[in-house]
Symmetry: C2
Subunit: 325 residues, 2 copies
């Protein structure tokens, strides 16, 4: 009987070995640890994210390539939200014994495709057998000049709030997947933000390099929750304008998502950041639209203004991945 | 309804905040990434390890504290095997919605107890809900002077092979757990290497600092498999002497484990290393016994010599965690 763990490591190693390595990675797969050396004057950033079957992806909804790509995208987006440059990734992967080899190859292949695009090397991880589901945990290591990481805690009253791209597209896909009937399969190309997320790595780096962003987070948990994270860590409040929130266009025929999804839907992996009013924030940067949606306030509340000018408090709803609601 | 993920993060943050932080950790839990800065002239080591319920621990066999401690021990042992100093840990933890809060607190508590002992800070991670099992993935970051990590690939023909402590104690516990009958519960104190593993961090560091170890690995997969890893990466062979292998004494009354468990049983987390014959390797170091068990050879085979002097080839059997055999 072949050892599943050993075979899995060998396969991952083989697929990973074709990817180009950054100079920060000294030793990768094939030892007890990877050895990493940041460039002179640089800090390392580290983030970890689960991708669990049934929670973050479903094998009947997501091709292996898409599940693998989304697994890495979650980590890259966290690096982007600090203004960092991703360097290396570590994949822990547990699979049922009877899972087809091709599923694993395609999952790792989708992950490596996105890794290559960002110059990231798959540098290690762990493998195991797990009977009930495919379990992945991705670690991404990034690099940023000493003390220059853009934290959540830097927002100040009077600063303006911006978001990249459009919101609600990923949660709209999940809503549609829940409503799918046989013969009415939705197409991944009609919901690109869910099926082919593009982490905003270049944008995050530029916002940091140009000193534009004072605080930043990625919209993985949904605007209401992620804005609450910035306000909590910065000890400030916020007021946003519902009519200014850029909403994704999804489906066929394409239509704008509901405000509710744009406010609370997660996994869009856009960047939400604050900037001093004197900063000239361009409307487009690194190929992405940037939209001002509100401002930071001294009061600790988060308010949303509707088109009639009525303000109500916005409570973080917290993104529950496959909730059908 | 409280958000389980948010509550989980808050609890982990609270428990973690009481632990002392090393200077390498700039920003921990509460942002998109942790920010880490190695000391001047140092590299970072990174390792990740799953601890999955039903595969690596069982809730009916392991108390939450022991499961949490063993989870971190796996990662610390990998840092030890490179001769590094552990700096920070990242815990990804998924739990069923109905798991008692106290189980999580005790799991994280057991993990943090061991972390404190080694000056390691819990610096981040991820949380999720998973219906069928408790899933943990631990990342440990360590530090080592530039280019001084002890790799698996440094063994040379003629060098001697050493192992710390005793082998087979952890797998003996699993064998006994499988044979448990009601009213005949085994005691964790009779199998300390399984229930209270002590990663050999100080020993690994000393072996690196004194330039003793030319190649090193921890015995997580069992002697036969881990020695094969060293031989494969170093492109050498080995000959070990069965009668020299130090075997754990376990159970009540205490008795020596079978040779088979000492050769193939995993999760003892001892250090297996090679050293030039001219190095004076002491019999005790950092409070642990060191035993010479064989030598590195030019031929690519691994041979084991029985007490009658007969040599047979030793094939790596690969450690399957809860195999009853």
């Amino acid at each position: 009987v072949p050892l599943p763990e050993k075979a899995l490591i060998a396969r991952i190693r083989k697929i990973a070995s074709t990817s180009r390595g950054p100079r920060s990675l000294i030793t990768g797969i094939g030892d007890d640890c990877a050895v990493l050396r940041p460039g002179p004057g640089h800090d390392f950033l580290i983030t970890t994210d689960f991708s669990l079957e049934g929670i973050h992806f479903r094998r009947d909804w997501h091709t292996p390539e898409i599940a693998g790509r989304r697994c890495l995208a979650r980590g890259l987006s966290d690096i982007a939200a600090m203004g960092g440059t991703p360097v290396a990734a570590f994949l822990s992967l547990a699979v049922p014994r009877d899972l087809e080899q091709s599923w694993i190859d395609r999952f790792v292949g989708g992950l490596i495709d996105l890794a290559r695009k960002h110059g990231v090397r798959l540098a290690g991880g762990d493998t195991a057998e797990f009977p009930q589901a495919v379990l992945a945990d991705i670690v991404v290591v990034g690099s940023v000049p000493h003390g220059r990481a853009v934290l959540r805690s830097g927002a100040k009253p009077g600063e303006l709030i911006y978001v990249s791209g459009e919101l609600g597209g990923s949660s709209a896909a999940i809503r549609s997947l829940h409503r799918e009937r046989k013969g009415q399969k939705i197409h991944s190309r009609d919901y690109p933000r869910h099926f082919l997320p593009e982490p905003r790595v270049q944008l995050g780096r530029i916002l940091r390099e140009k000193g534009i962003a004072s605080a930043m987070i990625d919209t993985s948990d949904g605007l209401s929750t992620d804005l609450a994270h910035i306000c909590e860590e910065s000890k400030v409040g916020a007021e946003i304008d519902a009519s200014l929130i850029p909403r994704s266009r999804v489906g066929k025929p394409a239509h704008e998502v509901d405000l509710d999804l744009a406010l609370h839907g997660g996994e869009d992996y856009e960047l939400l950041f604050t900037a001093h009013p004197a900063k000239g924030v361009p409307g487009h940067l690194a190929g992405v639209t940037i939209t001002q949606i509100g401002r930071i306030t001294r009061s600790r509340k988060i308010l949303v203004r509707n088109p009639k000018g009525v303000r109500t408090e916005l409570h973080p709803r917290g993104w529950e991945h496959f909730d059908a609601s």
